[in-house]
């Protein structure tokens, strides 16, 4: 029956409507925390107008792994900015600010991630925009929020700061070692997603009542929500929460081990059936009845957890990673080698689900990237197109969204309100651009 619901999903996903069709978002965001969220809405079908300062645009355009650009574009920019319309708008000029207000008047959602006070200094803060568009949903995303001591100190912030200040990094390391910075930009990504949950809830409320609102979002506060047991534990026991490396102190067994062929393997087998299966696979079925391990809560106690994990580690050291994975499937517990970039790219399951989806972009050609990770049977989310140079869609947005003509647009360029890309890596079209590909003409 699941087959019936999802039959031909991949083949038909681009022919169905999108759930947020008709919703319009105006974004003046930078780096990652800002632009990630609007791209998620864009993949759900919203129209997203992305403003950048011309001619250099967002600093993200310079960011890349060890100096590698993809067709002259930043891979980071590429990954987090699907389906947007790119406008080069100088908000330092009164004409640019007025243009922003015109756009905001026609948008449902306005998002920014500048430090508190910056939008106000450009005359495009919430109070001004709300006066023009009373139903607007206005989101401000920052490191520390709009009030409070850290906001008052006007501290700048990054994802790394949120990992550091929240205790997230502290809890992500081996005991006795220095806290680890996660390779993933957790604060930016989880933050961007949570902010959009708030935005979509606000949209639902507006669908019901017509009322908009202001949403403020602090990246550092937000990540604390994902740290679960740590807070009540400290309150109840009076003791500090401690990190535990790869061992999950709330699930037993759940840890990472090394196989006989030197490969790191993650394993989990906590339910009664799974644990029995693991013990059988290890050739030690009696362990499942051992009073130390029989019951999950007992097994989680420090001395018991350490004991069972040692037994498992010793067993895993006698088997290859492949053998362990096969035994896991056979005996009904979970085990996997750690996936590398190659594993992700070559994985057939991810390809079959179109998680690794192909984008056929008029400007950047064909490449693969990750799809929005929620499949929807009636309104599939889609990655439709890739990134664009600074100000690439100026004319299109001015004409289609604001009804401006060629003379209006000329004056906007002349006044400095509008601008296009600098001829610099990350800002400009890919090499060999014919001057037309990717431009919207309708």
């Amino acid at each position: 029956m699941a087959e019936k619901t999802w039959r031909d999903y991949v083949q038909r996903k681009r022919t169905h409507p999108s759930p947020l069709k008709g919703v319009r978002v105006l974004e003046v965001c930078t780096m990652l925390l800002g632009p990630i969220g609007p791209a998620l809405l864009a993949q759900l079908g919203a129209e997203v107008i992305r403003c950048e300062f011309p001619p250099m645009g967002d600093v993200t355009r310079s960011l890349n792994p060890f100096g590698w650009f993809y067709k002259d574009q930043s891979p980071l920019l590429l990954h987090i900015n699907q389906n947007k319309y790119w406008v080069g708008l100088d908000l330092h000029t009164p004409q640019g600010q007025a243009l922003f207000c015109e756009l905001a008047a026609r948008c449902d959602i306005v998002e920014n991630n500048f430090r508190p006070g910056v939008m106000e200094s450009w005359n495009i803060g919430y109070q001004r925009i709300r006066a023009i568009n009373p139903g607007v949903i206005f989101l401000s995303k920052t490191g520390y929020g709009q009030w409070g001591r850290y906001a008052e100190e006007n501290r700048p912030s990054n994802d790394g700061a949120s990992q550091a200040l929240s205790g997230y990094s502290w809890m992500s390391r081996f005991p006795g070692q220095t806290p680890l910075k996660m390779r993933a930009y957790i604060g930016d990504n989880y933050g961007g997603m949570c902010a959009e949950v708030a935005v979509l809830a606000a949209l639902h409320y507006r669908d019901r009542t017509g009322r908009g609102q202001f949403i403020e979002f602090s990246q550092t506060e937000n990540i604390m929500r994902a740290m679960s047991w740590v807070w009540p534990y400290q309150q109840i026991t009076g003791r500090p929460a401690e990190p535990s490396g790869n061992r999950d102190v709330s699930v037993c067994p759940a840890d990472t081990f090394r196989s006989s062929d030197g490969i790191f393997v993650a394993l989990a087998a906590s339910t009664p059936e799974e644990f029995r299966g693991l013990c059988a696979a290890m050739g030690q079925p009696d362990l499942a009845g051992d009073p130390r391990f029989r019951d999950h809560l007992q097994r989680l106690r420090e001395e018991n957890a350490v004991a069972i994990l040692k037994i498992i580690a010793d067993w895993i050291a006698t088997r290859t990673a492949r053998e362990i994975e096969e035994l896991a499937e056979q005996y009904g517990f979970a085990a996997t080698h750690l996936y590398t970039a190659r594993d992700l790219v070559e994985d057939e399951h991810l390809a079959a689900r179109d998680f690794r989806t192909e984008i056929d972009d008029p400007l950047l050609g064909r490449y693969r990237n990750y799809e929005f990770p929620v499949k929807m049977s009636e309104t599939p989310p889609n990655t439709r197109w890739s990134v664009r140079p600074v100000g690439f869609d100026n004319e299109y947005v001015m004409k289609k969204f604001l009804g401006k003509n060629d003379d209006d647009i000329r004056m906007l360029y002349a006044s400095g309100a509008l601008g296009k890309w600098k001829d610099a890596q990350g800002r400009r079209p890919p090499p060999g651009w014919d001057g037309r590909a990717g431009l919207r003409t309708e």
Binding site: A184, T336, L338
Partner: protein, 449 residues
């Protein structure tokens, strides 16, 4: 920014605080209080967090567990229980009405179908095919309720070759399959072995971030589906695979590999794509140092008195600094400086620099790396309402992170922290299905509830 605009800011700040302080949240309307959600999450914190995202916004969430309770309640650090409850579940039971129902029993499924007829959303985390096999899958429920939004979160998704796997959905497994564990962690020092350095291995996140990402993405999907339903009246099925949800946030590793053959490897506390962006040791601990713009990197150099010695004035771009060899070289020089100061001193220096430095107001980001214990005591977060204890009628005052975003019209709130298994059976079955005490007792006695 000028003094005048900053002055305007404190007016703005006071204005907004008056309207979005979490302390007044309970006086305001709730965005999702028109929704009835059935949460069948089983052994999955992703499902629990997904329904929390809706419950925090006022949805009526019926948390449906088997008569013995959901196994996830036993997933608690070191096996600790508080007032009979596991500490993880204690943080994710918020605002939900906890009832029991035996879905393995046909009579239990009949009751479920009656509830589903009135529901807006169903969240379930059973292996693909389980709900269908019980006759309460999406295709079954939509016959009686075409607007139903049926959300399934599983380890590998509802379809595809691996969807038939017997492996359960675990956060540590999803982290392993996301690609992020492999290239996070300390590098093995030259000439050492893993036996000597058991900590120099691929290291996962401590928190259950994969489950949280899956639950949050699904919440987004549900809300988007609700918007669509408002226009069209139609519901649909949603499918999230936990490992995909977390893998999704990877920025460049797959593209990099596919086009260059380079596999992303551990880089310690530096960053493959960013400079200045690292954890740096200090006299009394460590700080996060950030400065993705050239001026911010220059500001750091200036702040530690190395503007001339390092030739900061001659730098024209951060791009050369991101290269591997450059990072290794410059990070040594940066750390030699940061070790001269305490974390607080560096923080103060960066704030001072933003006021009086050569490049003011531009400064670098300095954030002390704190323990959760220090974080919990930080007056800033207490003031912001994250750690306002929730006064729960069953569990007393419980400190659980809340108010993680603020809204002026429909702020999130934590009305209660958690409930024991089946706590709301009488009130929920009475309200929704008109089942009174005698029938309730009979259902319990026969193991349906």
């Amino acid at each position: 920014m000028t003094a005048k605009t900053r002055g305007d800011w404190s007016e703005w700040s006071a204005w907004i605080r008056e309207r979005d302080d979490p302390r007044i949240a309970r006086t305001k309307p709730e965005a999702l209080d028109d929704l009835l959600v059935l949460d069948l999450s089983s052994k999955s914190f992703a499902g629990c967090h997904c329904s929390s995202a809706l419950a925090e916004q006022g949805a009526e969430v019926l948390r449906i567990e088997p008569p013995g309770g959901d196994f996830i309640r036993t997933c608690t650090p070191y096996g600790i229980l508080y007032e009979g409850e596991g500490l993880n579940y204690l943080t994710e039971g918020r605002n939900k009405h906890h009832i029991t129902l035996n879905l393995a029993d046909p009579e239990g499924r009949v009751l479920f179908k009656r509830l589903a007829r009135k529901a807006d959303v169903v969240i379930e985390t059973y292996r693909p095919g389980t709900m269908d096999g019980w006759g309460i899958g999406y295709e079954d429920l939509k016959r009686d309720n075409p607007g139903i939004i049926f959300a399934s979160i599983t380890a590998f998704g509802a379809f595809g070759p691996r969807s038939r796997s017997r492996m359960g959905d675990y956060d540590n497994i999803a982290q392993a399959m996301s690609g992020f564990q492999y290239d996070t962690g300390e590098r093995l020092p030259e000439g050492e072995t893993y036996e000597e350095c058991p900590w120099a291995v691929p290291t996962k996140s401590g928190p259950w971030i994969a489950w949280f990402m899956a639950g949050t993405f699904m919440a987004m999907g549900i809300l988007a589906a609700l918007h669509w339903r408002m226009q069209t009246g139609r519901g649909q099925a949603l499918d999230v695979a936990t490992s995909e949800a977390y893998a999704r946030i990877d920025d460049f590793v797959s593209l990099w590999y596919e086009h260059t053959g380079r596999i992303s490897e551990r880089f310690g506390n530096l960053d493959i794509a960013l400079w200045l962006y690292c954890f740096a040791p200090t006299k009394d601990g460590a700080v996060f140092l950030g400065g993705l713009r050239l001026e911010m990197w220059q500001a750091f150099a200036d702040m530690v008195g190395k503007w001339d010695a390092w030739g900061a004035e001659t730098w024209t771009s951060v791009a050369p600094f991101t290269r591997e060899a450059e990072q290794l070289k410059w990070s040594e020089m940066v750390f030699a400086e940061t070790r001269k100061y305490t974390s607080d001193e560096l923080l103060t220096m960066s704030l001072e620099y933003s006021r009086h430095g050569r490049l003011a107001p531009i400064t670098c980001v300095v954030a002390p790396i704190l323990s959760p214990e220090e974080c919990m005591k930080d007056p800033n977060w207490i003031d912001r309402g994250i750690f306002l204890p929730v006064s729960d009628i069953i569990y007393g005052d419980v400190l659980t992170a809340q108010a993680q975003y603020k809204m002026t019209e429909t702020p999130p709130r934590t009305r209660w922290v958690c409930q024991p298994v089946g706590h709301a059976n009488a009130s929920v079955y009475g309200k929704h299905l008109g089942i009174g005490p005698p029938e309730l007792a009979s259902l319990k006695q026969r193991g349906i509830l």
